[in-house]
Homo-oligomer: 621 residues x 2
């Protein structure tokens, strides 16, 4: 099979058209000089974890932010790199495929060749397994030609295996040494970028000259933090799913007799479900984060859904569309506890058919209450990140089943007098993952690929490529790099901890921020969405004309450009220093001292408070 | 809920853009004069059934074909209609929604108003139920504005109920009389057009002045015959599904560890599955027609799939994409027989939980062999057309389950030495039905709407609107009308016949023609598709640029324009008459007599042979 990788292939007319599309570069990446300005040393968002992180990452923690600037920018202390020796770089797809991944390779390739035509880009075949086994394909213009702006990871393939065990890390080290790589670029999500940080630290410790760079590519959209606004692939996934959800809404409104329960791929967090809701305006969405925050039980959820069905029936509406994220199942408290017991027993080698007899009495009672198909799915061995096999658990069918039973009960008791409740269930996931990437994802990925080169040219190790200000046009995008360790947090508690991950710093999936603007937008509209069928149909993904340049709604409503604002703060501090120079008046000095003292007091108080948002509570991941 | 119908709604940018698109009219429909030329009286394709059909339809059987001509065409015996009194027309959506349905209404509305601004178009609300209850909405430009070129049936809604019982037919008659309708247009598939023919006959018998017209709108693509080349909605459904199938193919090729089993909506026939295969080139497709023709059992199918998995594993390929139509389950002989027993018992009032104990020994053995989820689905009450609830039976999961069990067995026995077989199952149906219609479907539906007016202006009853030569550009399309009775066949045998349908003529769903060119194209490529992963990705449905003007592959490869060729034959006969006039030489007369005698002999032999293709065998529907 390896021999098939990178083979040119026949493209459809639309694919050909897309392969000729050329993403624009922001001004700072144009030209052949690299100008990099370093910001302050970074800390961790979770101040309490900073010490632990610095202990685990002595070589790579606390490195400064890097901003890449345009050639003409006048910044006194920017480092200007004009010499570009030929370098050798390896690139690897890690984890689940996400539309746009190919463009990272293309962007890096173009940047490498533009700065030195003798530089070499090696793609690892078959993901991390190819990295361990030193299986490579040298990337060329010809190979790229039928993969530019195309979906999937099929140019190189992927495995979902992590780069984590000592054997795996050592194998990667050997490969980088043997192939004399100056850089290793890892394309992936939360887990793969955590692994990238670990590799960077190990390589630094081992004095291996290979610098490791991470790129945020995941359809889940959950690699989000101060430095990273969104991920490559998320926009496409949301658009393809929204098309299908809108089609189902139209279908519901035409036939007026079904409730559609649609589960969306996206792992623990509900970013995809929220984004699709803001595109398509279905009647309801149940976010995992809401359920976890309000500790809603299966019974609560069923009751709320039934009440919604009933109030719609009173308006003679017997159809509806309800979205739910695949992570929902783990956020329901009693199901989570049950899963925990099951996973514990599975890890202790208890076989699936013996588990039900070894559960605690209450867990056993819940388990027996569930319909057979769900039982079977809950008994699946957990994933390598300790979560259940979310894509395999048909939560949509469970809820539809429970709602149907309850509605039939109400009908019998006479508390519901409408027509029979009918549900149709869907899981939208695999059919979106391989899509042609949207224009935004093509552009974003290509630019990130370029930035990887700039990071390597600046000699940085353990960084992630970042673009901020993304909601503005490409010529306003700001390019930079942030140490991956600055995105980490430490989970001090966990059920079923495994020795290797307990208390170890990692990038954790960002939850939907229940205090954020996107969620606020949902809340404002939730009742009207429920009652009024305000279905919106963005239509199929377009590459020209109306809608072609749309960006994620959740990206556009959020405040952005954290890195730009960090720079702005620096400028303010510099200005204070300039104004309050020796020789300034007593009054000026007094005012400055008073203001600064007050400001530092406020900031000390704020930064010592526990971080309350942005990650799942410990009891739910 | 009724009050919501036809309300203007907010459109997305792309929807707005589409709502401004204006389909082109073929030359014969331009201008305000209607010229109609009548062809020979029609017969039925199934000569043996002609007598039965003429008995059931004394008023509407044997009517001539009608061809609508451009204003300037010089045809001596064309009827020219220049007076266009104001008329009142009703229109109703029947059966399952299909993309493009709204454009039939728009086309008819435009034609009505162009010929007489005082004409009125009434839409029936909520499908056939609205027809019985006289619930109408007067169509206006304003109401249409947000529904032009948009998917779904939500302008008027629909019900799946048929217009068949005496009460239903009488209710329809009363409505048409009360509303003083000159015409009633029925938008639907095989069943609804059969009902339209019945209504036309009943109305003629009752001397009701309302003329009934049918329009071929069904995503199944199974209303196909000499007069009808394809159906409104089929192109869109195939394109939306092909997008998703191609995404899954890309996914398969990226991860290289899953076999995807994808079931496609489309009722008994496999047109959608065949069309999608020719778009996306998945590894395999199992057509219901092939299985029925070769009498493949579940065991045969499992074995063939496993052999395919095994031969791919030998080439180190552990992924693949396999399509199957929802009608497959009924085409497997032993499952069909089992379903027959179950449906018989259900119709006799046996409750689902008691059925397994009342099955014949062999049916019981098969039933017990099947996994629980399939058992439950097979026990569902049959649809009104006597078929199983195809959309609810997860044949894809059944096959994946059987293949997995067999591969595990082979692994254990050592006859298979590859990696473990992993399957992921999908059903693509509801998520495509509500799509924005493709350009082709928009054009086709709009033109059909226009033709409905021409049929009514010519005073025809019991006709279906037809467009032929569809694979050519719109300005070459030929517009006409054919008596619906000419599309009927008679099934003389049937299991579980119900008194009302036994032996009664009907339009039956056309099966995929296993001698046709589209199937030949599949056969030529099947082995390469299986082994070489020649996946093709047409991408998401586009409205501009490459791919936007694509038409169904199955439409484009078939010979077409039956109605045009019927006209050509008439011209030949006319020419013979002109050449062989009294006074011609003995030799010419002798040659003509000899040739004509031979020709009539050949044709008599051919037409008395049983029709072998084009419909499901009696034992399989």
């Amino acid at each position: 099979m390896d021999s098939d990788y990178g083979t040119p292939r026949e493209l459809s007319d639309l694919q050909k058209h897309r392969s000729l599309y050329r993403p624009q570069l922001p001004p700072c990446l144009q030209g052949t000089t690299v100008r990099v300005e370093f910001g302050d040393a970074t800390t961790a968002a979770d101040a309490a974890g900073a010490h632990t992180i610095s202990r685990f990452f002595p070589h790579t923690y606390g490195q400064p932010l890097a901003h890449f600037l345009r050639e003409t920018t006048k910044v006194p202390d920017a480092q200007i790199i004009t010499e570009h020796p030929a370098i050798r770089v390896g690139i690897v797809f890690c984890g689940r495929q996400s539309p746009g991944g190919h463009n990272v390779i293309w962007g890096l390739y173009d940047a490498l060749k533009a700065h030195n035509p003798k530089s070499v880009l090696l793609g690892f075949l078959g993901g991390s397994e190819g990295l361990f086994a030193q299986k490579t394909l040298e990337i060329s213009d010809e190979i790229l030609s039928t993969y530019k702006n195309q979906g999937g990871y099929d140019l190189l393939g992927r495995t979902k295996d992590q780069i984590r065990t000592t054997e795996q890390v050592n194998a990667a080290l050997t490969t980088c040494n043997n192939l004399k790589l100056n850089g290793l670029v890892i394309i992936g999500g939360v887990t793969s970028n955590t692994d990238a940080a670990q590799l960077a630290e190990t390589f630094a410790e081992a004095k291996c000259p290979t610098k490791v760079v991470g790129v945020p590519v995941t359809l889940n959209g959950d690699l989000k933090n101060q430095f990273v606004e969104t991920n490559v692939g998320f926009d496409t996934i949301a658009k393809v799913n929204s098309q299908l959800i809108s089609n189902v809404c139209t279908d519901a409104l035409s036939a007026e007799k079904y409730y559609y329960f649609i589960r969306l791929m996206g792992r623990k967090a509900s970013h995809v479900a929220l984004e699709c809701t803001l595109h398509s305006h279905p009647n309801m969405v149940i976010l995992a984060e809401e359920v976890a925050a309000s500790k809603l039980t299966l019974f609560d959820l069923t009751k709320q859904l039934c009440d919604a069905v009933q109030v719609r029936a009173e308006q003679d509406k017997y159809h509806g569309v309800i979205l739910l994220p695949e992570g929902l199942i783990e956020s329901i408290p009693e199901v989570y506890a049950l899963l925990n017991e099951i996973h514990g027993l599975l890890r202790h080698g208890v076989s699936a058919d013996k588990i039900s007899s070894q559960l605690s009495p209450w867990a056993s009672a819940l388990f027996e209450f569930l319909p057979p198909f769900i039982k079977k799915q809950l008994l699946l061995f957990p994933e390598s990140d300790d979560s259940a096999q979310l894509s395999q658990i048909e939560t949509e069918k469970l809820l539809a089943h429970l709602v149907e039973a309850e509605m039939n009960k109400r009908l019998k008791e006479g508390t519901y007098k409408g027509k029979k409740f009918n549900a149709i269930c869907h899981f939208f996931g695999y059919q979106a993952r391989g899509s042609l990437p949207s224009k935004f994802d093509c552009d974003y990925a290509y630019v990130l690929g370029h930035i990887c080169y700039h990071i390597l040219a600046a000699g940085l190790n353990g960084y992630m490529a970042t673009v901020t200000n993304l909601k503005n046009p490409v010529d306003k995008w700001k390019c930079g790099a942030a140490p991956i360790t600055a995105m980490m947090t430490v989970k001090r508690w966990g059920h079923n901890p495994r020795a290797s991950s307990f208390g170890k710093p990692a990038i954790h999936p960002a939850a939907v921020d229940l205090k954020g603007k996107a969620y606020e937008l949902l809340q404002q509209n939730a009742f009207n969405f429920l009652m009024q069928d305000l279905y919106r149909n963005p239509g199929p993904l377009q590459f020209d004309g109306p809608g072609a340049d749309a960006k994620p709604v959740t990206l556009c409503v959020e405040d952005q450009d954290y890195m730009g604002r960090i720079k702005l703060l620096r400028d303010y501090l510099e200005k204070v220093r300039t104004i309050v120079k020796p020789g300034c008046s007593q009054e000026v000095l007094k005012a400055a001292l008073s203001a600064m003292s007050s400001l530092t007091d406020i900031l000390s108080v704020l930064s010592s408070a526990p971080t309350s948002v942005g990650h799942f509570g410990n009891n739910h991941s």
